[in-house]
């Protein structure tokens, strides 16, 4: 997605340049224009397999607007007008009205209502052909990321002309990472040849790579064919390939271990995020709040509402949703505390039942307002896609942001509790209520604020969850157990315990998952937790001192 963004900016710059170029040099319709147009016209009626050959023929015409037109076809932006069958590129697909661009001059030629044009469709096979065809053109793009993508696309189909194009580019390429990628592609092509010295050199180059394509190609070299003889006759080459293969496999395993660790951290940070709010209401105040999950759900629905209110600014809607969710869930929390919970302090069973009732009321309210169907919260572009570290490792942006987000929220809560007046009050009341009261702290007000803070943070967690899971009335139920587990494991009333507890539960879960499956690994974690609580009933980091004894 990220690449696409740069892509489109780039594309329009190119289009502009090409348009300028064509107005300067292509005043009159040349014969190549005519062939180009008629080949383009064939696309209207062709079957998908015919379209593939037409796309290849278009690529060979060398017409200045080929790249723009084929890119448009790949992005579903190539249409023809129903009235006169003329083919057009449109600026944005599926818009109404469509703004048209002439395929020859690439100049804007006004707009037309969507139903007066028909889209020229594509399928997977055709898109694959288009991608490699377009890659040839993209190789000369001034943008490094576009060139890198192009080389990677070309690596899948290394035929003669592709290799020749890559050789040409290698001579003029200046960027080191693109150069390295082209070298890898050329080395792969060399392996298909018959020069043993060249092959050895190629293997040496390839052993630096961690890409799966390279690994598979090298594995073919050491393979035996069905009659028991080696595919590759030269023993020296086989040995070199085996050594390279071992090194690549080692690195790939290393990165895959790193990936698992990151998965664990990301699951852990979700657990921590949903537990921070609870560790305040349950941990500090001792209220068993069964509606905690529903407060998260409110946060997720707030995200949806904010997005619906600002459909043109999806990118920042998530940022706006964070304070909005904090306020909505926080106020709901204060209301709950003032109207129900404050009458039930010291009666945990009644609190449990009452908050469970509140959770049902909240669910039904949401069902009545938004319907029982899931709402689709759109992932903004900056949160989709992944950060590519190398061929073997890529980290998805949404998870990365959530890890960071969790750490930020955690630090903020810690700051509030340790460094602010309200934090001091909260700690004082939780440690010794009568003494705090004697010192003139308005304990009732502090109770409401504490509960509001915990609830607000649950709402903020809901914003993050809306990006990971479905936003529906039952969202809270699926997370409530997990959040209690983290708080109990980490030690009631200890924020650091929740952090360490959540993270370690996430990592253990993800380490087990490839072997045991998603269901079993969760069960193992639960059993381990039960055993752990038997040994240390107060969790990882129990509260010490007199206040702990009183509870």
């Amino acid at each position: 997605m990220r690449n696409n963004l740069q892509w489109s900016g780039q594309r329009w710059l190119n289009l502009l340049l090409l348009a300028l170029w064509s107005t300067l040099f292509l005043k009159a319709a040349s014969p190549s224009d005519a062939t180009f147009l008629s080949t383009l016209g064939e696309l209207r009626e062709a079957s998908y397999s015919d379209k593939e050959s037409i796309a290849e023929r278009l690529g060979k015409t060398g017409h200045p607007s080929v790249r723009a037109v084929l890119t448009a076809l790949m992005d579903d932006r190539l249409y023809f007008r129903n009235s006169d069958q003329k083919v057009f590129v449109v600026k944005v697909a599926d818009a109404d009205p469509l703004s048209l661009v002439d395929p020859l001059t690439l100049k804007s030629v006004g707009s037309a209502p969507a139903d007066s044009l028909t889209k020229i469709g594509t399928n997977n096979a055709l898109r694959r052909v288009l991608r490699t065809t377009v890659a040839h053109f993209a190789l000369s793009s001034p943008d490094v990321a576009v060139r890198l993508d192009a080389v990677q696309d070309m690596m899948h189909s290394l035929d003669e002309p592709t290799v020749a194009t890559l050789r040409q580019r290698m001579a003029v390429e200046t960027n080191a990472s693109v150069k390295k990628e082209i070298a890898t592609a050329l080395a792969l092509a060399t392996l298909d040849g018959s020069d043993p010295a060249g092959k050895l050199k190629a293997i040496a180059t390839l052993s630096q790579s961690v890409s799966g394509d390279v690994r598979n190609r090298l594995a073919q070299l050491v393979d035996k064919s069905s009659d028991g003889s080696y595919v590759e006759g030269d023993e020296k080459i086989r040995k070199a390939a085996a050594a390279a293969l071992a090194s690549i496999d080692w690195w790939r395993n290393f990165y895959s271990g790193f990936e698992t660790l990151f998965f664990g951290l990301s699951l852990g940070s979700v657990l921590v995020l949903i537990a921070i709010g609870l560790s305040i209401t349950f941990g500090v105040m001792g209220v068993i709040n069964m509606a905690h999950g529903e407060l998260m759900m409110l946060g997720a629905y707030t995200t949806y509402a904010v997005q619906s209110a600002m459909p043109d600014h999806i990118g920042i809607s998530i940022i706006v949703a964070i304070p909005a969710a904090f306020v909505v869930a926080g106020l709901t929390g204060v209301l709950m505390e003032r109207t129900i919970i404050r009458f039930l302090y010291g009666r945990p069973l009644e609190t449990l039942l009452a908050t469970f009732g509140v959770s049902l009321i909240l669910q039904q309210t949401v069902r009545s307002i938004f319907s029982a169907l899931n709402r689709s919260v759109i992932t903004p572009d900056w949160m989709s896609g992944s950060l590519r570290i190398n061929d073997a490792l890529a980290i998805t942006y949404n998870r990365l942001y959530i890890v960071i987000f969790t750490l930020v929220i955690f630090s903020l809560v810690l700051l509030i509790l340790r460094r602010t007046r309200i934090g001091l009050d909260i700690r004082a009341v939780s440690q010794n209520r009568p003494m705090a009261k004697a010192m003139g702290i308005p304990t009732e007000w502090v109770d409401a604020m504490t509960f509001g803070l915990g609830s607000g943070i649950a709402g903020v967690a809901g914003v993050a969850l809306s990006q990971l899971t479905n936003v529906g009335p039952n969202l809270g139920q699926s997370y409530i157990i997990d959040s209690f587990m983290v708080v109990v494991f980490g030690g009631v009333g200890n924020l650091w315990g929740s952090l360490i507890g959540g993270m370690s539960m996430g990592i253990v879960n993800k380490l087990l998952e490839p072997y045991a499956g998603a269901v079993l690994s969760k069960i193992f974690v639960l059993i381990a937790l039960i055993l752990f609580i038997q040994i240390r009933p107060r969790g990882l980091f129990p509260q010490t001192g007199r206040s702990a004894e009183d509870k």
Partner: protein, 430 residues
């Protein structure tokens, strides 16, 4: 005084007459049609549409004069996505309301729950959803696809047309995916696919943390052979699954996912960006251009008063089922279940996408099979279609346990006949 009295009695008799006529409309001159679909709970999303489909069909049939000169009357009950409640509501429809026929159920577990009720009370159920097979009841007509009408052709398409060599069978953990995957695994092994080229995995309902699974699929698919995912993932777990595929940059061009439970209705409430190019196998797509389909879509939009509502495969199954029932009733000149069941096998009605749907002796029907690629607008682009109509098979040829079993309600009068031991096991009504 007298005058007043007569006026009063006249008014009274009018009221009485009114009551009589009202009850007369509801009593002997109508045929009751039961609709057993969840209108609340998790399945309401999908099943409410099917209730509306049958109401629309009944409405249209009544405008044509009803069946056998009588109007049809819908009896709608709500089993609330609660499986045991399905059985209770089915008993209510059959025993209290005495309906002539029931259209209903979606999940396999709800069908299994009502099955004993229909067999005990000798009711007639039209079941409209693609399912795992391995069943043939005397009292059920299966208008959805059996595995050989959806799963097997989809795998064949990937194998022959796309050149897939490695398979990931990814499913939600319950009876339909488990049975379907068992059949598919046996089928792939029988076609010479090696065991190490098949990876099977299950996740719970509503699963959302797909990162490890998708990374594993990516790894499995990077072994140099063309890989595809056959997805029996059901319900809303699909949304985060496709999102994660998009985020980890697995495009449909590299590793296509073919889904058996994702249709137009499911796509309509969803951001389709990450799904474009992925596949679905069904017997019907809204985008298929035939005059019957166009008429059906227009009728649907007019009935539901919303031109944006989509149509989907189970709706077509209900359309077929309803028409089959009407034809059979007219042929039998009766709504008696035994008589209708005796004429149903062999009854034919047009599909919405071309060809005729014919009830087979095993109580399944003939269907065309289509494979479609998801387009950005949430519709499907048909990329493959079966050569002709595929007859539904109740018992799979590829499973050791069901290979020798045959269902035939015409000559054998048995849904579970073992050709080797020549015995009718289980569902035996002789």
């Amino acid at each position: 005084m007298r005058h007043k009295l007569s006026f009063l009695s006249a008014a009274l008799s009018l009221v009485v007459a009114g009551i009589v006529t009202v009850s007369a409309v509801a009593a002997p001159d109508t045929i009751k049609v039961g609709i057993l679909h969840s209108l609340s709970g998790t399945m309401a999303i999908s099943e409410t549409t099917l209730k509306d489909t049958i109401l629309m069909m009944i409405d249209a049939q009544n405008k044509k004069g009803g069946v056998l000169g009588k109007k049809l009357e819908a009896v709608v009950v709500d089993p609330a996505s609660n499986w045991p409640l399905f059985a209770e509501k089915a008993a209510q429809l059959l025993e209290k309301d005495k309906v002539a026929v029931v259209f209903g159920c979606w999940t396999s577990v709800s069908r299994k729950s009502v099955l004993p009720v229909f067999e005990k009370d000798n009711g007639l159920l039209f079941y409209p959803v693609q399912y795992e097979g391995e069943e043939s009841s005397k009292n059920v007509i299966y208008t959805g696809a059996a595995p050989n009408q959806q799963a097997i052709p989809a795998v064949d398409y990937l194998w022959k047309e796309v050149g897939v060599k490695r398979w990931v069978l990814e499913g939600t953990d319950y009876v339909y995916p488990r049975t379907t995957n068992k059949i598919l695994e046996a089928y792939l092994l029988s076609r010479g696919v090696k065991k190490e080229d098949i990876s099977i995995n299950y996740t719970p309902f509503g699963f959302s943390d797909w990162q490890t699974r998708v990374a594993a699929i990516k790894k499995f698919g990077s072994a140099g052979k063309k890989t595809a995912v056959v997805s029996t993932i059901n319900g809303d777990a699909n949304v985060p699954f496709y999102k994660e595929l998009g985020n980890q940059k697995i495009s449909a061009e590299e590793i296509p996912v073919v889904a058996f439970s994702v249709g137009e209705e499911e796509l309509s409430g969803l951001d389709t960006k990450p799904l474009v190019g992925h596949l679905a196998a069904w017997n019907y797509f809204e985008s298929i251009n035939t005059p019957e389909n166009k008429r059906f879509i227009n009728q649907w939009h007019a009935f539901i008063k919303n031109p944006k509502r989509t149509t989907n495969d189970p709706m077509e199954a209900h359309y077929i089922g309803f028409n089959l029932w009407v034809k059979a009733v007219e042929k039998a000149h009766s709504t008696d279940v035994a008589k209708v069941l005796s004429v149903l096998p062999g009854t034919e009605t047009p599909n919405l996408t071309g060809g005729m749907a014919k009830v087979l002796p095993n109580h399944h029907i003939t269907k065309p099979v289509y494979i479609g690629e998801v387009k950005a607008d949430g519709q499907f682009n048909v990329v493959w279609k079966s050569a002709g109509l595929v007859p539904g098979e109740a018992w799979s040829h590829y499973l050791a346990g069901s290979k020798d079993i045959e269902a035939d309600w015409v000559t054998l009068n048995c849904g579970n006949y073992n050709k080797v031991t020549k015995k009718c096991a289980g569902q035996n009504y002789k």
